[in-house]
């Protein structure tokens, strides 16, 4: 398998995806299209967390915070000044948001950059912490962002949230960003820079003695992760057309973390697969929250039952298959063709 062939197969795969998206956009109903959209957004979010946690070993629970920043920045930029004036009924929006409007792509990019800027800002103090302490500090950061969103009415419209965000985030935008994220992270992780990140994850002391500036590398990884989390948040806001501070609770981080752990820490293939499976399951499992009649016996619907099921699933994964779906293995065309070649030969 040479590089040219692999590139050709990659392009073919992207082509197949494009055909699928085109068909899905035309023939599936709005609900299913929405789930397909959510898959893309969740994959972006999970890939970014896997870069931070799976590849660099930084146990970060601040994803909801980065997403919130991305979502708010993007939403404030795509809304027109007139719309914002109507939305902000208590106090007028702060300059420059009161006058500017940006195209969707620029807004998403700035959303990501805003999140990355916060990544740098909190990275400086918290990345000196290790392990669980880092988790707690980043969790606190995400909470702070949420509280700020609640209490800065001129920036975020407070608890009222932002409504009527133009739904630019269609299938094409979402999957374009998803592929871009995947491409960037694959490139990084496969390079020798990626090796250095994994060295930090595996043994920080040895990494230092090999001349790796551990703090700087953690910072780069954390900031890049924050950038893509911001992009994911921005797309999510546009997809749902409405955001408010309550949306960015810890549960949001938990969902992303669940995808990463299920797919396998340090496996991008696993993240993509788990992103699809878990997003679909999250929707499909809604039936457990409805009243179920079971042979004449009526079980009343319990809201939140879905998350109980998911917590149990996560528990099972951690108990019985800690390495997730893929372990640290990755998809390769070579392996793919060999697998099917062997399957064909056996038959």
């Amino acid at each position: 398998m040479n590089r040219a062939n692999a590139t050709l197969l990659n392009l073919a795969a992207v082509g197949c995806l494009a055909v699928f998206l085109w068909a899905a956009g035309r023939h599936l109903d709005g609900y299913k299209v929405q789930i397909i959209n959510l898959i893309a957004v969740n994959i972006i979010l999970a890939l970014s967390l896997n870069l931070i946690y799976g590849f660099t070993g930084l146990f970060s629970l601040g994803h909801a915070g980065f997403m919130a920043i991305g979502a708010y920045v993007c939403a404030m930029l795509v809304l027109s000044p007139a719309q914002k004036e109507m939305l902000f009924i208590l106090e007028p929006p702060i300059w420059p948001f009161s006058v500017v409007q940006a195209p969707f792509f620029v807004a998403v990019l700035l959303g990501g950059l805003g999140a990355a800027a916060f990544g740098v800002l909190i990275g400086f103090p918290v990345l000196r912490l290790g392990g669980d302490y880092l988790g707690i500090a980043t969790l606190g950061f995400a909470e702070i962002i949420r509280v700020l969103a609640n209490n800065l009415p001129r920036v975020t419209n407070g608890a009222l949230g932002l409504k009527g965000i133009p739904a630019y985030a269609n299938l094409w935008w979402n999957y374009a960003w998803c592929l871009l994220t995947l491409y960037c992270i694959v490139k990084l992780v496969r390079s020798n820079f990626g090796n250095a990140l994994m060295a930090i994850r595996d043994d920080e002391v040895a990494a230092k003695s090999m001349g790796i500036n551990v703090f700087k590398y953690k910072m780069i990884s954390f900031t890049l992760g924050a950038f893509f989390a911001g992009v994911g948040g921005a797309l999510l806001g546009n997809l749902l057309t409405t955001i408010d501070p309550k949306m960015f609770l810890f549960v949001l981080t938990f969902n992303v973390l669940m995808i990463v752990v299920t797919g396998g820490l340090g496996s991008l293939t696993g993240t993509v697969l788990a992103g699809i499976v878990i997003t679909v399951l999250l929707e499909w499992l809604r039936f457990v929250e409805n009243p179920i009649s079971f042979g004449g016996y009526e079980i009343p619907g319990i809201p939140g039952m879905r998350m109980v099921v998911f917590s149990l699933v996560l528990l099972m994964i951690i108990l019985f298959r800690r390495e997730g779906i893929m372990g640290m293995r990755e998809f390769s065309w070579k392996g793919f063709l060999r697998f099917f070649g062997r399957g064909g030969g056996a038959r």
Partner: protein
């Protein structure tokens, strides 16, 4: 010989609270020399290593490398200056292959950085190709050419030791610190290791400082030996001098044996 020391420490001292782990440690390693640091358990040998490589910031004294004061520099800066080390308990990157381990060592001298890789710039791809070739060459030198794609931790013990040295060599050091390279090896492996250390010293023009418990190794390859006991330097000299030094025998075997000897 001493006037051209590549590494020199001046009254290096490390105190942890009330405990003085190392006191007034003075060592001068000649360029191209092979020097040993020995002493009973807990004598402060590894503490000396940690002070030289920047893991500990010494509470007193100086470390001078190639005429430059590197006291208190961060570990990665020390490594960049040209000092590489191995660890007493092997510290390989467990989830990576042998080849990746060596490439991580080579990363230090890499010119292109993350955003070059992100954009797949041709210069970056070329450099990574060259790094890979360099890493493969180093694996060949340590006799692990066929194991490049195996996980580092799946290699046999002796091979892991050699891989750790290959990884250190990939940082292009002028000075190599080996912390008990022969630990846990049988006499035959030790014999191979001694020949191996001699050969890499020739090939890479290294100066080497090694900590070792195996006296056969120390006496066999070191030109000069420093002996530590309870953080104090109790003897310095050639292997012959050390072998007959009463203070050293006492530190290792106790007073009575010294009297009997």
């Amino acid at each position: 010989m001493k006037n051209e020391a590549i590494l020199q420490t001046r009254d290096l001292t490390m105190r942890f609270g009330g405990l003085t782990a190392v006191k007034d440690f003075n060592i001068a390693v000649p360029r191209g020399g092979m020097v040993g640091l020995i002493g009973p358990n807990g004598a402060g040998k590894t503490t000396c290593f940690n002070m030289i490589t920047g893991f500990y910031s010494p509470t007193g004294g100086q470390v001078v490398f190639e005429g430059r004061d590197i006291t208190g520099a961060a570990p990665h800066e020390v490594c960049k200056a040209g000092i590489a080390r191995t660890f007493q308990n092997i510290r390989l990157f467990a989830n990576e292959t042998a080849l990746q381990n060596v490439m991580i060592g080579a990363h230090l001298r890499q010119q292109t950085t993350w955003w070059h890789a992100l954009l797949s710039l041709p210069g970056c791809l070329r450099e990574e190709k060259a790094l890979r070739a360099k890493a493969l060459h180093l694996l060949e030198i340590v006799g692990l050419a066929d194991h490049g794609h195996e996980k580092a931790t799946s290699l046999p013990y002796g091979a892991q030791r050699r891989l750790e040295i290959a990884r250190a060599l990939a940082t292009e050091p002028a000075f190599l610190l080996l912390d008990e390279p022969a630990a846990g090896m049988n006499p035959q492996e030790t014999e191979h290791l001694m020949a191996f250390i001699r050969s890499i010293r020739e090939q890479f023009k290294l100066s080497i400082l090694l900590i070792e418990h195996d006296m056969k190794v120390v006496m066999g390859i070191c030109e000069q030996i420093w002996v530590l006991d309870y953080g104090e330097t109790i003897a310095v000299g050639s292997p012959e001098e050390i072998r007959s030094d009463a203070g050293v025998i006492e530190a290792y075997l106790g007073k009575e044996s010294a009297a009997n000897a």
